[in-house]
């Protein structure tokens, strides 16, 4: 994936043949550790006209997690996982167990946490890809 979108610049294998350029890499990244980091970065990009990209593990198949001349919000470090034993969705369409997690949680981290909580979590493809939404069921059939 990455050669298509990053532009194959600054490859270790090509060090003898040229210089290290940014290519499709963002110029700056905000390492998001708190909500205000994300708010500041988004306000900044909107008000200055700088291109904004979001990067978690950088595995987006369409290359949306990188971009030339951009400011990136790097969400990898948002790793909180909280188990909610009795969750009720705002419309009450779902009641039951739930996990609230930060944007940087990856598949394998969710599985390990769900195992500790005694529930089953459904994740996406890939051990190290990040999750945005997840469905949970209690481990015992109901």
């Amino acid at each position: 994936m990455w050669p298509l979108f990053q532009g194959a610049t600054c490859l270790p294998q090509n060090a003898a043949k040229g210089t290290c350029e940014l290519g499709g890499y963002p110029v700056y990244s905000v390492k998001a550790t708190k909500v205000s980091d994300i708010q500041l970065a988004m306000n900044f990009a909107r008000n200055t006209g700088v291109r904004l990209v979001i990067r978690n593990t950088g595995h987006d198949f369409l290359g949306k997690s990188t971009g030339a001349g951009s400011l990136s919000i790097w969400t990898h470090n948002l790793k909180e996982i909280e188990f909610i034993p009795a969750y009720s969705s705002p419309s009450s369409s779902y009641t039951g167990t739930a996990i609230k997690m930060g944007a940087g949680v990856e598949g394998i981290e969710l599985y390990e946490a769900a195992n500790r909580f005694g529930v089953t979590a459904l994740s996406g493809e890939g051990r190290v890809s990040s999750l945005i939404t997840v469905l949970l069921r209690h481990s015992k059939p109901s």
């Binding site: 270790p12 110029v27 550790t33 909500v35 980091d37 008000n47 006209g49 700088v50 030339a68 930060g102």
Partner: protein, 105 residues
Amino acid sequence: MPGKADSPEAYQLTDSVIANLTQLQLTNATFFGFTGGSYPRATTCKVMPTDNAWPTAETWNTLNLLTGGNLISTVPIGAVCYQGEHYNAAQCQKLTDNWSDSSMQ
């Protein structure tokens, strides 16, 4: 504020924080607010590093300060293999050895 004391949600940007920035007379405080930004949206191209409108180093530094030092200036991971300030032979070797490991990338 919502969120537990040490969770990321404990630190949220609000209009009153933005007002404090303006009182400090930071000339670039308008870049950080929720409304009132001067860049015309949707009708023009994004601002690129070679453009006059690219934020100044001082403005980027303000973003760095407001995020508590969380702004990173990109140095591509392969830079350790290129002659220059980031060159490091040992790190370059480790990088090329592990190049096909997706969790490293």
